[in-house]
Symmetry: C2
Subunit: 192 residues, 2 copies
């Protein structure tokens, strides 16, 4: 009865790797146990259930992504920061598709509020300091950027832009150009 040294952390990490290999939806307690050469029931000492495992993978991915984003925008401003920030999401999707899918999983409100998701919003807001957008428009812009990054990654990973010209790479840079232009020229609210 050799002890493998399971911990919640190791399970989550391995679960994230599994997600990258087989897809987040296909992450299963059985497969994870197989990889640790351990019986399935043993996982349940470290993780409440499969949903709990997936939630933890999501939180892990959000944190990893936030760390990368923080790194990317440090010391940059304006379009430079916008591009670096956006590319973090795009690169993460390519490097870790399973974790990226996990990061898009819906969390219940309390869990979400305690997640690194709030750091993402804060960093996006910080990005806007390079542009001249005051509240409450900054919030609208934050939400737009979130939607674009989220949506683009999702569509691209679903193969939405592949096998058709122009290639996805070019679209991405042109979208960032467009967003930069838009943020420089954010339309005033309609005067009621």
């Amino acid at each position: 009865m050799a002890r493998v040294g399971l911990t919640t952390e190791r399970l989550v990490k391995a679960g994230a790797e599994l997600a990258d290999e087989v897809g987040f939806e296909q992450v299963t307690a059985s497969e994870l146990a197989r990889r640790f050469d351990v019986k399935v029931a043993s996982l349940y000492s470290h993780v409440k259930n499969t949903q709990d495992l997936k939630t933890r993978i999501t939180l892990f991915a959000l944190q990893e992504l936030a760390d990368r984003a923080a790194d990317a925008i440090a010391g940059r401003a304006g379009k430079d920061a916008l591009v670096a920030f956006a590319n973090v999401y795009r690169d993460y999707e390519r490097e870790h598709p399973g974790r990226a899918a996990a990061a898009r999983m819906r969390l219940d409100p309390e869990t979400a509020a305690a997640s690194a998701g709030v750091r993402h919003a804060q960093m996006t807001r910080a990005l806007l300091r390079g542009y001249d957008i005051a509240e409450p428009d900054a919030t609208h812009a934050v939400r737009l950027l979130g939607s674009v990054f989220h949506g683009y990654a999702s569509l691209e990973s679903a193969g939405g832009f592949s096998h058709s010209a122009p290639d996805s790479e070019e679209t991405w840079t042109r979208i960032l150009d467009a967003l930069d232009a838009l943020l420089h020229n954010w339309p005033a609210p309609p005067t009621p």
Copy 2:
């Protein structure tokens, strides 16, 4: 042995309703059989397997959504068309969250190419006739709009914008204002 009159179509329709009630991920052959008061195995004469069922629900949702979108943009142009088109996605998400989630499911390339997804792209491109954007920039713009609609619906349905000011409704109209402005002022490609 009363015959209920199962058909693939009825199953897909009921599956879509089930998705709206319990979430697309929770659509299961067992539950569907329960609703028809039929044994699970009976479904397998009409549907290849659960994955096939889900794919069909996705195709159904994409088509329904495309029909609504076509209705919305008929006889409209410019910002008027943009807003009507975008609101179709937003309203669909609210009215049929399960089907909307289904519409975001990734399809394999051949299935996707034969789906109503291509109509969505065509209609989006038609929208751009109200603006002055030539190829290949039109494709970039189509992809941007797709990303925004897709991403916003997804984030909103995940509760990303709820319980925080300003409210999601206002953000949505301001985002549409911004997109309209952006399309009017689409930045030229960088001169190499």
